[in-house]
Every structure is written in C-alpha cells, then in structure tokens.
Amino acid sequence: MTEAELDPVIHSQARLRVVATLATFPAGDRIAFTKLQQLLDMTPGNLSTHLRKLEEAGYVDVVKSFQGRTPVTHLSLTSRGRLAFEEYAAAVTKLLGGSS
C-alpha cells in the first residue's frame, strides 16, 4: 500500500475535510450547506465544486428543499461514502504504522 493507492476522490485536502466532517455525524443526519460551510470555513463556490465531485462519485447525497421561501440544501454521506471514508482512514492509519 502506498499513498498513490489511496481513494483519489477523498485524498485531497478540501474533500477529505468535507468527508471527515460529514462522517462525524451519525448516519441519517443531514447537514445544511451553510452550516457545513461555517464548519469548514470554505467559500460557497469552492465547497460546491468539491461537493459536486463527491456527489458524482456517489459519496454524498444532496437534497434541496424549501424552508418557507428560502431554498436550503442538505448534505449527507451515502453509505458508500461512509464506507469509502472508513477505508481511507484505515488505509492512512496503516500507512503510518509502517505495515503494508
């Protein structure tokens, strides 16, 4: 196992932060876009770009709805995304442990 074999969808500074944040919430919880943005301290455009990539990979579920007249976007990890993150975290830990 080398760093080159790590999941390329997650193995980026910004996307790892997004996925790690979403993975901290219990399965089933959906996080508002603005709250996620606040937790990550990222610009809306930048966060959207990375979320699109994660959505294309099937890791993140995007649900758009209305709260009154305000559009709200809620995000959550799919079970596939959660699994990918757990595998990524395990692989990174293994790399650091020196055993491959």
């Binding site: 760093e3 080159a4 980026s12 500074q13 910004a14 996080i31 959550s76 975290a89």
Partner: protein, 224 residues
C-alpha cells in the same frame, strides 16, 4: 516542472488548485481529527455551560430559601425568596433550551430530532411537577410537605433528565451528575426544613459546579 508525483496522475487538474494539495498520511490523520473536534465543539451541548448555569441557579436559589426559612417559626421561606428561586430555575431552563436548540441548528435527521425531544422533555416534566404539587396543596398538604415536595420533585426530574441526556450523548459526566442530583434530591427530604434547602444548595448546586469544573478540565486536557 522538475518533479512528477505519480499520485497526482489519477486526479484531474482543476481550477481550484490550492485545495487540491494531497495531504500525506500524517496530515490526513490530523485533518480527520481536527474536523471531528470541530464538529463536536460546534454541535454537542457544552456540559460546562449546562452544569454551570444549573449549579449557580441551585446554589443561590436554595441558599436564599434556606436563609429566610431559618428565621421564620414554621421554617417556611419568605414569598420573595420563592420568587428568586423560581426566577433562577426559569433562567436555567431557558439557557438549557436555547443552548441545545442553537447547537442543533443546521442539522436535520435523527440527532436533531432527539435533541428537540430532549429539550421538550424539560418543559413537559416541569408542567407535571407543577400539577402534582398543586394537587397535593389542594389536598391539604402542610407547608413543610409542600416545600419539600417542590424541591425534591424538581430535583428528581432534573436528575432523571440528566441521566437521559447522558445516555443520549453517551456522556459519563452528564450521567454521573444526573445520578448525583437524584440521590441528593431524595436525601434532602430526610433533612426536613430548613436543612433540606442547605443540602440542595451545597450538595446539589455545589455538585453541579464541581461537574462544570471536571468537564472544563477534561475539555482543556482533550484540546492539548
């Protein structure tokens, strides 16, 4: 272009280049840890706030009751001291609800549902205490029974809710504190008036402030 990292080959170049830096294994783990901590700090109820508010409310409220009850012949506290006691209790409940709600804004799903249900349990519980005590008073309970009932039932309710909160957020501190409040509330009735107020102030309020301190020490240790 002097170096070529084969790891970069698999990910397409994108316009937001600065964020595409690939962390090495060690910084990847740091990122995961930091985000977990950020979420915990932003969402889970801060036990220091809850313990602190309830500790001050009980310590001060019960000391006021005790000091006025001591100087009356039948050991019942003055009316104005009850006003202070209930104002402090209401303030502590308000802070708890606002704190829990503010923390759960922006999250939908199981966590926020349990948070909201937990918040409402306080209000519903205190309505129940109010009804029981009104019933006992109407049935002719003497002032000592009424006084002991108010404080011990409130204690029982708050303690059991803390036990539930501890189970909900898997917080040992919250759970231990809940157990302590239940036992202190129960035992305080054995002391009779006005001693029960002193037991509640020192063991109840004091215990919560110690809980606030213990949880602050733990936060500080975890943050290092």
């Amino acid at each position: 272009m002097t170096t070529h990292d084969p790891a970069l080959g698999s990910s397409a170049p994108s316009p937001e280049a600065p964020d595409e830096q690939l962390p090495d294994a060690a910084s990847a783990l740091d990122i995961i840890r930091a985000q977990r901590a950020a979420v915990r700090d932003g969402f889970e109820p801060d036990t220091r706030v809850l313990f602190g508010v309830w500790g001050v409310s009980w310590l001060v409220g019960n000391l006021v009751l005790y000091s006025t009850a001591r100087s009356t012949p039948d050991h019942t506290p003055a009316g104005w001291s009850f006003a202070i006691y209930f104002a402090l209790l209401a303030a502590a409940i308000a802070v708890t609800i606002v704190h829990v709600i503010r923390r759960s804004v922006g999250v939908a799903g199981p966590s926020s549902t349990s948070g909201a249900m937990f918040g409402w349990a306080w209000t519903i519980g205190f309505i129940g205490v109010f009804l029981v005590m009104t019933g006992l008073t109407n049935a002719g309970a003497n002032p000592e029974i009424v006084n002991l009932g108010w404080s011990s039932l409130s204690c029982l309710l708050v303690g059991v809710l803390y036990l539930a909160g501890g189970a909900l957020w898997q917080s040992r501190v919250l759970y231990v504190l809940g157990g302590w409040i239940v036992l202190v509330g129960g035992a305080s009735t054995l002391a009779g008036l006005p001693g029960s107020f002193l037991v509640m102030a020192l063991a109840g309020g004091g215990g919560m402030l110690l809980g606030a301190l213990a949880s602050h020490v733990r936060e500080y240790r975890d943050a290092r």
